[in-house]
């Protein structure tokens, strides 16, 4: 698949962008609360702030490593992915030349399942990998595996999932009538699981007793729906669109309608890789950030669909991938729907995302006992280092907060996670 290399925009503009990205990333890490950050910048001025931070944080070095691309320690990298559209930035960066532009020779390797991708990354067969965003959290706190310090430097996609139901339920659009349904999600530690449970619980169904939810690998989902083993699933695309394409299911709602802007999959790497090959890591991050920026533009989506649909990557009909990425899709009931934000790409890993995920892990009994929500979120989002640096500089670390999160009309305050968990009528423990 020959894809035209990107038209190289003015290198200066690009350097500026990287410089801004680094600067704002450092700022955000140091002052996760928008108000505090703005107050700080206003009171001392941007340049003074940068100079002050440079005292304790090597911002210039970071910028240089990031923008000028000091020679990467390791050029040949392997990155694992699961063939779903969430992995779009990671995959497309290979055929569309984002990796090679950074002097990296990246092999993107298709992997059979989440447990395998976790093990292969832990085994260092992969240098970095596509994971579900709850996974680095779960790996770090040792839920479902031994605790290994993991980092999630970037979110890959927001939105982009859907609830698909079997054609025989096309008249049962009210979730209250779903008692006894058998649902599938891709993994226990997935946004899919938490969103489906949230949606069901908000509609008065207990996801553990009123319905059955099981973890089923995405490729098996459509086959099981056809075989009547499942009534529906909350799955990553292209699985939903594929069910429509094959005439076995219809799209009930997009996950966007549950929480607009929810994170889904993540780009993850072990802490060891980040600290041992910082130049390679920043080159890789640069490629991912660029690819994500490219993917977030509507006009590029068609071209991306053609690049990632072939057998080497997603192995799906182009039209299925195109419908997912462009957001102009058949819903399976005879309507053509248009929603350009069906899937979107935004790399910033807000800590509040992590805290929300942890509250749901707690809510459904995946983690027992007391948890230090903010502490774990910081650890995985590399904020511990920033906190230490701030304390050294005599600053008080602010309480973490990122952006507003509203799930099905209910606002989430990341500074009160325990109260949030308690506020739900349906929960475990």
């Amino acid at each position: 698949m020959a894809v035209e290399p990107l038209s190289s925009s003015a290198p200066n503009a690009e350097e500026d962008r990287f410089s801004r990205v680094v600067e704002s990333a450092v700022m955000r890490a140091l002052f996760p609360q928008d108000a505090t950050r703005r107050a700080f910048l206003n009171s001392v001025g941007v340049s003074t702030a940068a100079a002050a931070i440079a005292q304790f944080f090597p911002i210039m070095a970071a910028k240089e490593a990031f923008a000028q691309g000091a020679a990467p320690e390791k050029k040949d990298l392997k990155i694992g992915f699961i063939p779903i559209t969430c992995a779009t930035p990671i995959i497309m960066a290979a055929p569309m030349g984002f990796y090679s532009k950074q002097g990296l020779n990246v092999e993107v390797v298709k992997t059979a399942g989440w447990a395998v991708i976790r093990d292969k990354t832990i085994n260092k067969e992969y240098d970095a990998a596509h994971m579900l965003s709850p996974m680095p959290l779960a790996i770090s706190i040792g839920a479902g595996s031994n605790p290994i310090p993991y980092t999630m430097p970037a979110v890959e996609n927001i939105n982009g999932q859907a609830i698909t139901l079997s054609m025989k339920h096309k008249d049962k659009r009210d979730p209250k009538s779903w008692k006894g349904f058998k649902f599938a999600v891709p993994f226990d530690y997935s946004m899919h699981n938490y969103l489906l449970r949230y949606y069901l619980a908000e509609n008065g169904l207990d996801p553990d007793t009123d319905v059955q939810i099981r973890a089923v690998p995405p490729p098996e989902m459509v086959a099981n729906l056809r075989a009547d083993n499942l009534d529906g699933f909350l799955a990553p695309d292209p699985v939903n669109q594929r069910a429509v394409y094959d005439g076995v299911g219809f799209i009930h709602i997009l996950s966007k309608e549950i929480w607009d802007g929810h994170p889904c999959c993540a780009f993850a790497a072990s802490k060891e890789f980040v600290t041992q090959s910082p130049n390679t890591f920043s080159a890789l991050m640069r490629a991912i950030i660029e690819a994500t920026a490219f993917a977030s533009k509507d006009e590029n989506r068609k071209q991306i669909a053609e690049a990632i649909a072939p057998a080497n990557y997603l192995n799906q009909p182009v039209t299925v991938v195109e419908q997912v990425l462009t957001g102009t899709y058949a819903d399976g009931l005879g309507n053509i729907k248009k929603d350009a934000k069906r899937i979107d790409f935004d790399p910033f890993p807000y800590e509040s995302f992590a805290i929300w995920i942890l509250t749901q892990m707690k809510r459904w009994g995946q983690i027992k006992g007391d948890i230090d929500y903010a502490g774990v979120a910081k650890q995985v989002f590399l904020a511990t280092d920033a906190e230490k640096l701030m304390k050294q500089a005599g600053l008080t670390p602010p309480t973490p907060s990122g952006k507003t999160i509203v799930v099905m009309g209910k606002a989430f305050d990341p500074s009160k996670p325990a109260a949030y968990v308690d506020s739900f009528a349906i929960k475990r423990g």
Binding site: K110, D119, Y245
Partner: protein, 282 residues
Amino acid sequence: MIAVGSSLNLRAALVSLVIFVLFIGAWQLGTSGKSAVATVDPEYAKLLGQSANTGKSAMPGPADVAQTIWGHLKDPFYVRGTNDKGLGIQLGFSLGRVALGYILALIVALPLGFLIGMSPLMNKALDPFIQIMKPVSPLAWMPLALYTIKDSGISAIFVIFICSLWPMLINTAFGVSSVRKEWLNVAATLEVSPLRKAFTVILPAAAPTILTGMRISIGIAWLVIVAAEMLVGGTGIGYFVWNEWNNLSITNVIVAILVIGLVGMILDQALARVARAVTYPE
């Protein structure tokens, strides 16, 4: 005698052919779906697949499969990137893994089997271990292997090793222990050295039993490699099946089933030939 034999073969071949034709006919009949159903908005129809639009069965007919096989045969060794390689290359990867794991198992099973077969003490001492390990599904070892070996390729080979080990070990031990006492007595009378006794008396005597074990093992190894590769992915015929399943391409899955069966048969027949060569009349 010869005439009866050949006529039996001929008749068997004829019956095989009839079964084959009946099977293909039934398949063709079963998959030739209805013609187009409701006419939908062409704009909408463009977004759907054939089976959703025309009501055509998602199951491919024999002609589709034959066409796909032809496509694979024409170009079995293409490489279109890390995750898209020709069927021939995938088979090569699988056969390589099976060969490695199998040979390693052979290297361990033969000496150990001799030891167990010749020493009643070791036989009794090792028996509980063998009895517990033998019935474990080889795939159950996979998570443990991935965790300890820390390499998916070697883990797959390990799984082949562990599944081919038991039949060879047990058959070798049995073959060695059931060598006729008179032959061993003759060897003892002639004061043959233990090593020479092992190679010139016991090995030829136990060879048919050992070969039976080897034949069972290769069959199991070939069964297991497909499942193992579906699990770890990357390369191999098992990965091919998984990748095509991912694309819901039943045609390619059927092709893979045929190819797996064919290769398994060839492996089995090859060892059957060796077994015949070492058989002796008593």
